[in-house]
Subunit: 214 residues, 2 copies
């Protein structure tokens, strides 16, 4: 795919996928762009435009086949398969993420854990033995890890990410509150819950309410 | 403040605040826009532009006073004070958030918990007794809650958020994977870790690597 798909479009595909999964559970066979739009509070034109990026799906007047569209969405999003994920940093947020069952339900399996704390290395978290961070590059390669979650302090995050990149990993989800540098071929996403709360406190204090667009 | 500050600017203010906090710990007294930019991998012009939104801070040739700038950033972000936060939904992600110490460290204190599960209502999580969701609007008002974290299933999120809005809360952090509707005076932020992972799998499958801009 050479077209540049926007961040917002990709997030909307995730929303469509979830809406279609719910519809399938409710045994709904077809859905119109209007109905799909209503569920996600978007316009039908937006839905049709988003889906048209990825080929022609619906039939005029009949709408989309729910099961078929859901299956094609899962292929497009790459969640029709399982992913091997490593988590680096078994601190407060890292521990919570290991316990978060939603990831595995969607095919994202945390299969490796790393930390630099001697008291944590070798210990067992949810069936996974924590590896030493000094073996990071070697073990990421050996275990064919494709996605890495970084949950280390901001002060060391760049060094860790450099090693992750050196191991050939192309996809990183970063929880450290710092801007990280990665080469253009690596996809880096940032998650920062504290910064989201600061956004809210800023909004309340300054009476400023821009909405985050999905 | 009537100027429209962009989402990216607000996130960068959070990054500056963190960088300044680290500098203060390192007993650094002054910092140049160049040094601050280098730490966050931005340009000095960007740093000066961002800070100029909020008044004149630095002295030409001398840079910024670290302690003063940090203090003013904390006022701008509204984190020079404590916030009373309620968390709705004590499931997988909700439980993890109650245990996440970072929030309280930054002044965001989770002081109320709500759930609709009879087995959870009345139980104690980290010293907070879980309230019945049916008392949501009343208790949010009585307890002067200013920020609400929503960690309920997507299917019920809109109903919950409607009640939160009815209680007069102006700031919501939503973890449910659904587009929610709120009135213009309410600031809604969305956090979806599974959707971020889907963004990464999409990027790997489609060899597509747009970076999320902070």
């Amino acid at each position: 795919m050479k077209k540049r798909i926007s961040e917002s479009t990709i997030h909307r595909l995730s929303l469509y996928y979830r809406a279609l999964s719910l519809l399938e559970k409710e045994n709904v066979v077809t859905v119109s762009s209007k109905e799909l739009a209503k569920r996600e509070k978007l316009t039908p034109a937006q839905v049709r435009k988003d889906l048209s990026f990825f080929g022609s799906f619906g039939t005029r007047g009949l709408g989309y086949q729910v099961a078929e569209l859901r299956s094609r969405m899962s292929h497009i999003l790459g969640i029709n398969r399982d992913w091997r994920v490593a988590l680096i940093g078994i601190g407060n947020i890292g521990s919570a993420l290991v316990s978060y069952k939603e990831f595995a339900r969607q095919g994202f399996h945390i299969v490796k854990l790393f930390d630099n704390d001697q008291r944590k290395i070798g210990s067992n978290h949810k069936g996974i033995v924590v590896s030493d961070i000094k073996d990071l590059e070697k073990e990421l390669k050996e275990d064919n890890i494709e996605i890495v979650i970084v949950a280390v302090p901001a002060t060391v995050a760049q060094y860790i990410v450099d090693d992750v990149v050196a191991a050939g990993v192309k996809a990183i989800l970063n929880f450290a509150p710092i801007n990280l540098r990665v080469p253009p071929e690596v996809c880096l996403r940032n998650e920062n819950m504290s910064m989201e709360l600061e956004y809210l406190s800023f909004a309340v204090v300054n009476n400023h309410t821009p909405k985050k667009v999905i």
